[in-house]
Symmetry: C3
Subunit: 445 residues, 3 copies
């Protein structure tokens, strides 16, 4: 059986972080690698990965590292959906295959469940179904009492869902050529050719079985969805401290931590797991990293910085910052005193404008989302949920309340009043301070 990974789409809603969610690093490895390893555990050894012109090289680089598997690549020229992706890999679509969206994260039981069903060979296709308790903008599955698919509908309006069973894209097809033929017949103005083809197959008498799945499932559609995935990986990781890591005697490390090669944890730093720290990173003096934080490689969480429940990329440099519930891509720096606010004064949920839609993130604690290569000036304040495009600079003392596109610089235009300074400081007062300093060393005002 071949596993087909669909990596050709573009996650526009992920701005300002990567469009290719499967390239996000977790625990030191890109998600794609985690996905391949998970599939291998389920016994899959032959992979077809469909990428687009911008990401195919990175995909090749990652997947070629893995020994003992066969990987073929296909190029999807334009990101026109699942059906289009399958067509671009037509050459490989023979025999039994598993179509997988590696941008969703799920546990190994997703594979074992569908593969166990597929073994029985009682249907032409098998699709994974997940019961949701609230509206999810995906495909909905209507089934009969034998879990046979009756109808599939992509992204119905809220309230118009035919069921509470959502389609997860781990699909097994015993006869992909047939599927492709149906795809060719679909006429739709929406991005649901694949789902329409499945629907047509059902109507034409093909049996498609829905395999119920109840374990962990986390789609990554918006940047803040990274948190759930990060938490999942941290919860499932084993604690580990590399022997090459150097942790000061006066640092305090508690809870589950994964501390990678050559990490340095300096004096009086506190790490309170679950926390992952990537290779060669430094946790500086008196820094605090806590409560589901994930730090990439070669990053410096400098002096007097708190990182709480945040996902930080590689090569990021902070000092004297508060970073709470934030997502920061690679190669970013924060000036001293810069704060990523994570809580509204009115304590309401943080909302983010994506295109013309205002999305409720569901979080009342959400910090900034910062693309790669940004610089944030000293004493700047980024408001909850603000997004900063890649390669942008936020000037010192700026209070950023709206999103900033990529490659922009925002600077304050403050007006100041400069007058002659008529004050004369009292020498007596100064001396009194000094006297206190000398006599009562511990009373420093």
């Amino acid at each position: 059986m071949k596993a087909i990974f669909l990596c050709g789409g573009r996650g526009k809603r992920m701005f300002p972080v990567t469009e290719d969610k499967f390239l996000l690093d977790f625990l030191g490895k890109p998600l794609l690698l985690h996905q391949i390893e998970l599939a291998r555990q389920a016994g899959l050894n032959h992979f077809v990965i469909i990428g687009n012109p911008d990401n195919i090289d990175k995909i090749k680089q990652i997947s070629r590292k893995i020994p003992g598997i066969k990987v073929d690549f296909a190029l999807q020229e334009k990101s026109l959906g699942i059906a289009d992706a399958l067509k671009s890999a037509e050459f490989f679509l023979r025999g039994q295959l598993l179509v997988i969206n590696p941008n969703d994260v799920f546990s190994s039981s997703a594979y074992t469940k569908i593969l166990a069903q597929a073994k029985k060979n009682t249907a032409s296709s098998y699709v994974l179904g997940y019961r949701v308790s609230e509206y999810f903008p995906g495909g909905y599955l209507q089934v009969n009492s034998k879990n046979e698919l009756l109808h599939i509908v992509e992204k119905p309006n809220p309230g118009e869902e035919p069921s509470d069973l959502v389609n997860i894209l781990i699909h097994c097809h015993n006869n992909p050529e047939e599927l492709l033929r149906y795809i060719e017949t679909v006429k739709t103005a929406r991005d649901d050719v694949y789902e329409c083809a499945l629907d047509k197959m059902v109507r034409a008498g093909h049996k498609i079985k829905v395999v119920p799945y109840k374990d962990f499932w986390a789609p990554i559609k918006y940047p803040w969805h990274i948190f759930k995935v990060m938490e999942y990986f941290l919860d499932n990781a084993q604690p580990y401290v590399a022997s090459s890591a150097r942790i000061s005697d006066t640092a305090h490390v508690e809870g589950k931590v994964i501390i990678s090669e050559n990490v340095k944890v300096l004096e009086n730093a506190v790490i309170r797991g679950p926390v992952y720290i990537g290779a060669n990173s430094v946790i500086g003096n008196n820094a605090l990293v806590r409560d589901y934080s994930h730090i990439g490689a070669k990053s410096v969480i400098g002096y007097a910085t708190e990182v709480k429940h945040s996902y930080i990329g590689d090569n990021c440099w902070f000092h004297s910052n508060y970073v709470g519930d934030s997502i920061i891509d690679d190669d970013c720096s924060l000036g001293a005193g810069a704060v990523l606010a994570n809580f509204r004064l009115d304590e309401g949920n943080i909302q983010v404008k994506v295109g013309d839609n205002v999305i409720d993130t569901g979080y009342d604690k959400l910090g900034a989302i910062i693309g790669r290569g940004c610089r944030i000036g000293v004493n700047a304040s980024l408001m909850p949920g603000v997004r900063v495009g890649p390669d942008s600079f936020v000037g010192p003392q700026v209070c950023l309340r709206e999103d900033l596109p990529a490659r922009k610089t925002v600077l304050p235009q403050f007006r100041y009043q400069i007058t002659d300074n008529e004050a004369s400081l009292s020498e007596a007062k100064r001396k009194e301070l000094l006297r206190k300093l000398g006599k009562q060393s511990r009373r420093l005002d």
Copy 2:
């Protein structure tokens, strides 16, 4: 002997903290409770507490908790002064009684002194007198060589004081009905009916004895007067650490501290007494609380926060803040980087406008005074002596230089210049930083 507590007044000058100063908590108990306990130590067991419609329920709640005493309550409909208060409790004013203002703080000798004199029964009334070295806006007592009252005058203009002996409202009256009769005869346009009545009694030949008192006395008229009371309670408290408190091995606690039930002091925190910390509060990592600070219950002095000589209410949340010489009522939060400045650049005394008067607080170190239920945004700066009314929000990065009324939101109206970012960051420089990071781990720029 009955003790009459006058709790019906309204401390308008206390804005933005409570009008009912006797409700302020010290060492985990409201001042009123401290006052009742003090009176009990002096042998008093029967109390009449006069409240107003807004506070009478709270008063009942507090005073009913005390076993072994009899408490009666009277309601003063409008806050029209001492004489009016006494009239509203007329029913109880029989036999020997002690009239007490529980908004002033004094030591037990105030009771023992006046009760010892009253035992001798050589006068119809006894009033406590305190010698001041500078003008105090209260009542002044003129006495003869036998300490018999000749004349009492309420709030003379500065420079027109008839003596340096100030009237403290712990007064013993052997015949309150007589006092009430005199009160009825007073005609005055000012808020001094009670004092005029005493004056009239003296002129009519009643003997009123002034009992000199030299120990601690602190009236609470303005919010910053809380400091002196807080210091008094801390100075007189016994050090105590609750067995349920959890103090990290790497926290440092020195000087006199009172640490209440379930308090947590996290790693590398420093507490330098005299300091009181209320039940269930948390002193976070690397926080510093020092030099006469009083933290209420369920508050979090979070990471990297310094609290110096401040009075903090219940359920306040700070992180990465400087809180110096400040008063913060219950249920307030400060965003990361918010600073309560406590020292003018010109090092002069902090002045506060109360009504039309500019009051010199006498302090050159005074921070903000914040009412209950406020939120202060990240990186905001509150200037010395600024007052923030209850339920108000101070936006991020706001530099608040003037008082803010209750239930207001103040937001910055900054203008920014957004341009294309033409900078290209040098990969070489970045690599050089990384090289340093790898080779000389301890040299982090």
Copy 3:
């Protein structure tokens, strides 16, 4: 042999720190004292120090402290260059003498080299020459193969240097009267009378020998030149901790440190040498001082403050600050949260405008340069390389991007929007936070 110290010039380019660079303190002593001691080690015991009306008293005060040497003083009325200085000390210019600019820092070999040559007595004068690898705005020496001076030219334009050999002002003159005669004959519109006189002497057949020098040499022309000198002194100092210093058990001190009398290092502070800390200074709780920092006497590096590679004067008070690559003269205070930024967002070199010239400091990490007696408000941000004149105040929250002259006050003119606060905070949310606080003590949001 007499040593002539030229202290009459005025280092205008040193604004806002002292014009008299030889008065800068290093390791607790003014540079002038270091210079005299260096000269004594080379066997010199008779000094003539030429000062100007503003500094002569300080010079006398310093130099009179040294036992076992003879010091004469001369007054240069106006700061008109080397030749003018020598003329103002004409009375003392007899016999062999060494003319020294004590504003340049060099090692002892500068003296031993030139004195060894002078002993041979084969030339009328000896001048020290230093080979540079890039343009330096000083005097250039052209020599023959015997290192005899052919030509000297002061400050040629870049690219017009006659050699790569720069004139260092440690010059030995066997016949100063002759030199003075030549000086009288020079006609020049520039500030190069002395150099022209030497040039004339050479052309007239006097032999002037250039003594090559390769060890440490650091001229102090601009404030940031202080860093190199500071580093030099730190590199050459012996580690030392005064027995009167009190260092907390939980403080961490590593690398080469010089901790002077009565210094206090409080709990959890980290000092990472090379670092010098002057007498009676305090390194507060959780502070970090690192990487070539030099703190004067009676200064307080308060709570949560980082000082990195900075030169700090006496009696400076910081708390919750970042001070990186900065120079701060005596008697300055920084409010909590004030940051001295040291790195441009575009990571370019920091440039400083001196007069009409924009000078590239050569540093990509350079903080503020602050004159004596300044106050910086809370949460203020000073941009890299900004200079603040003495006795000036920078208001709270000011983002200072341009230099500020002496005795000025700069205040923000922010506009705010004040509206009614319609938000009602959820009691449920508050309680949930409290519940977390109680149950999972370590999860503090």
